[in-house]
């Protein structure tokens, strides 16, 4: 009996000490196609933030727990619910996958737990799926499209064909990009919806080429993105069509190599080599993980610190009071300058349109991007009046 309770205490250390701790959770794809985008690196970044904050807040120890959602919405939402019930979870960092994050946002509203959505791109999280507890922290489909799609269309890429991941993320990204390119005088000629983690992209790419469009809009991410770009190169499609990465991470570029990725346009919320502060963070992270952080891993650090600062300023972990505090503060750290959290939950901050360097332009390891355009938060995320978040109407 004593053994059983000792085992239970080991398995669930939070249960016995609830109330004396501030619990931060992280639910993400730890092993699948998005695992390098945040995954173990996100855990490390969040732990760095907790350590930098001093390990305690309001005299309570800060505890960090994490779980793998395996890209399945039901696993993500049930784990979140379990933590909220059993572990008195105070804040959740939501990792990759829009489908999972939409399911988890519903739990955030039900359980009243602040939810920092970081890896998910779908802008519906702050539109029809918004909640009073959701903060969309790093980027969304609107800001990604406002970056890459507008720059390419303005540079003459008027007709687009989309290769779209067949779930909420891919279709939302395609819709956002279509809206932007139509506004800039371009048009979408067609699209093909590709099942997640397809083993071969050449058939889909041949259809894209057959459309005669100028631009190949890659509305996918992770290994789906890298494999489709590889096949586009192999089949000579990049000679006649300009590839546009609607969501690419530095981990993707690193694994593809500059020879394949050079010239590609992409939009990012953060890059390690922007200024001395980002470089300092990159250096610290690199010492631990042996690679530069993605924008999401940097956002994990920033979001964790922002939350803890809000708890400290509000002098409570009460979710409503913390959310109120979060909406009041300006975020000034290595991730964002003058960032702020809007009523619908969008964290408005500068975004960057980048072009991947050629092997000759790259002077040192991880020297991959050159800044094409810096967008203000307002330009990137659009006006609040565009948001369809139902919470805005009540006021």
């Amino acid at each position: 009996m004593a053994l059983a309770s000792a085992v239970a205490a080991l398995l669930n250390p939070m249960a016995s000490q609830a109330g004396n701790e501030v619990v931060i959770g992280d639910i993400d794809d730890m092993a699948g196609l998005y695992a390098d985008v945040i995954g173990a690196g996100g855990i490390e970044a969040a732990k760095m933030a907790i350590a930098d904050f001093g390990g305690t807040v309001l005299g309570k120890k800060i505890v960090f727990i994490s779980a793998d959602h395996q890209n399945k919405p039901d696993i993500g939402s049930s784990k979140f619910r379990e933590w909220a019930d059993k572990n008195e979870l105070n804040m959740l960092l939501g990792g990759s996958n829009t489908g999972v994050s939409i399911a988890m946002a519903k739990v955030a509203a039900e359980k009243k737990v602040p939810f920092m959505a970081i890896g998910a791109a779908g802008a519906s999280l702050t539109n029809q799926d918004c909640t009073p507890y959701t903060v969309h922290y790093a980027y969304d489909t609107t800001s990604l499209a406002n970056g890459t799609a507008s720059v390419i269309t303005q540079n003459g890429g008027k007709s687009w064909y989309f290769l779209t991941a067949d779930y909420a993320f891919g279709t939302q990204l395609q819709d956002a990009a279509t809206k932007v390119l139509t506004a800039n005088g371009g048009k979408s000629i067609g699209s093909v919806r590709v099942p997640l983690s397809a083993s071969d992209f050449s058939s889909f790419l041949l259809q894209a080429k057959g459309s005669g469009a100028q631009v190949l809009g890659l509305s996918n991410a992770g290994t789906d993105f890298t494999n489709s770009l590889k096949a586009a190169n192999e089949f000579g499609i990049t000679k006649t069509m300009k590839p546009a990465a609607l969501l690419a991470f530095i981990s993707d570029i690193h694994s593809l190599g500059l020879q394949t990725a050079q010239g590609l346009y992409l939009t990012t919320g953060w890059y390690w080599d922007l200024n001395p502060e980002t470089r300092a963070f990159g250096k610290r992270y690199f010492e631990k993980m042996k690679k530069e952080p993605t924008m999401n891993q940097a956002a994990y650090y920033s979001a964790t610190l922002t939350y803890l600062n809000a708890v400290k300023a509000a002098n409570t972990t009460d979710p409503d009071k913390v959310m109120e505090q979060l909406r009041k503060i300006k975020i000034n750290d290595m991730f964002a300058k003058g960032g702020y959290i809007r009523e619908d939950g969008v964290m408005v901050h500068d975004m960057y349109v980048m072009q991947v360097k050629t092997p000759a332009e790259s002077k040192y390891p991880w020297d991959y991007y050159k800044v094409v355009k810096k967008m203000s938060g307002e330009e990137a995320f659009g006006p609040l009046s565009d948001s369809t978040c139902p919470l805005l109407k009540k006021k």
């Binding site: 390098d36 058939s203 889909f204 057959g210 089949f235």
Partner: protein, 309 residues
């Protein structure tokens, strides 16, 4: 699409015609791509069929061995500068030896009990292999270059055909034919088949059956690794590359008939083509079409097209 080059004669005649509303060029392109993917399916399902047919083991680790073959090639190239052609021989050898070790330590204890145990064991092992490689090299994968000799592409009129892909078809079909010939038409193959029917009798004739079984497993695994090396320059070498493929390959084997070598090859190729056309007609269904066919075949012919009843 064709305007940039002189199209072959037979295409010029039909260039304007459509079949079911799809331009002929698209059909030809997809047919070729379907055969390309089909040759991968054929080679992978061939190894599975050999292992199941001769050992009765449902080798769920097949996808992991495919992935290990690709990683072996990448590692040999990155660390020791071993070129593609050497890796094409060396990687299957290394992975094959690993397979033999696995057979000796784990699998041989399971032959006498329900095949389900072998399935669970190999499934568990493949999860471990994926986890270890993800821990070592990350999930976004590694790039492996196309060998210099096979760089570039041919303009065949209806599409740009990378030379490397032509090599993949040639190499995999040759390997498929060789394996089929070895098992169906040689003395060694006859011994193997006899050993699966009646191991005790074959043993009595002075043939070392356990050693033969061990080497057969090693050879089946080496086939998977060979396919892995072939695919390394095409897709990112990632820990998940096998698991997304192995389920489809299992369906291919079931459709062809468990244990049938010819069935595995033919159904691999034809399902590659069917999947290719699904990618044009109804792309959202392209990842399930093979399973729909499997379900229909199982209802109609439970032992598959070439399986023994």
């Amino acid at each position: 699409m064709v305007s940039r080059c002189v199209s072959p004669f037979f295409l010029r005649q039909h260039a304007m015609s459509d079949i079911f509303g799809i331009p002929t060029q698209v059909i030809l392109g997809q047919l070729l791509l379907g055969l390309l993917n089909g040759s991968f399916y054929a080679m992978l399902s061939l190894g599975l069929a050999v292992i199941f047919g001769l050992l009765g083991v449902v080798n769920f680790a097949h996808g992991a061995f495919y992935m290990l073959g690709a990683y072996a090639a990448w590692f040999l190239w990155g660390r020791f500068g071993v070129n593609y052609w050497v890796a094409l021989l060396l990687a299957p050898l290394v992975v094959g030896i690993l397979g033999v070790g696995l057979e000796r330590t784990f699998l041989k204890h399971l032959y006498k009990i329900d095949p389900l145990y072998g399935l669970l064991l190999t499934f568990g092992l493949s999860l471990i292999a994926e986890g270890v490689l993800r821990e070592l090299f990350g999930s976004s994968g590694q790039s492996y270059p196309v060998p210099d000799l096979l760089k570039g592409a041919l303009d065949v009129g209806f599409m740009i055909l990378p030379i490397y892909r032509v090599w993949v078809i040639v190499a995999s079909l040759s390997v498929c034919f060789l394996t089929w010939y070895l098992i169906e038409c040689t003395r060694l193959g006859a011994n193997l088949r006899a050993a699966t029917e009646n191991p005790k009798l074959v043993q009595a004739f002075g043939i070392n059956v356990p050693r033969m079984v061990m080497l057969t497993y090693g050879a089946g695994v080496a086939l998977a690794a060979f396919a892995g090396v072939l695919s390394a320059p095409i897709i990112q070498v990632s820990p998940l590359m096998g698991s997304s493929l192995v389920i489809v390959v299992f369906a291919v084997v079931v459709i062809g008939g468990m244990g049938s070598i010819l069935g595995a090859i033919l159904s691999g190729l034809s399902l590659g083509v069917i999947e290719g056309f699904t990618k044009v007609l109804y792309p959202e269904a392209s990842n399930i079409v093979v399973f729909v066919i499997m379900a229909v075949v199982l209802c109609w012919r439970p032992s598959g097209f070439f399986g023994k009843d």
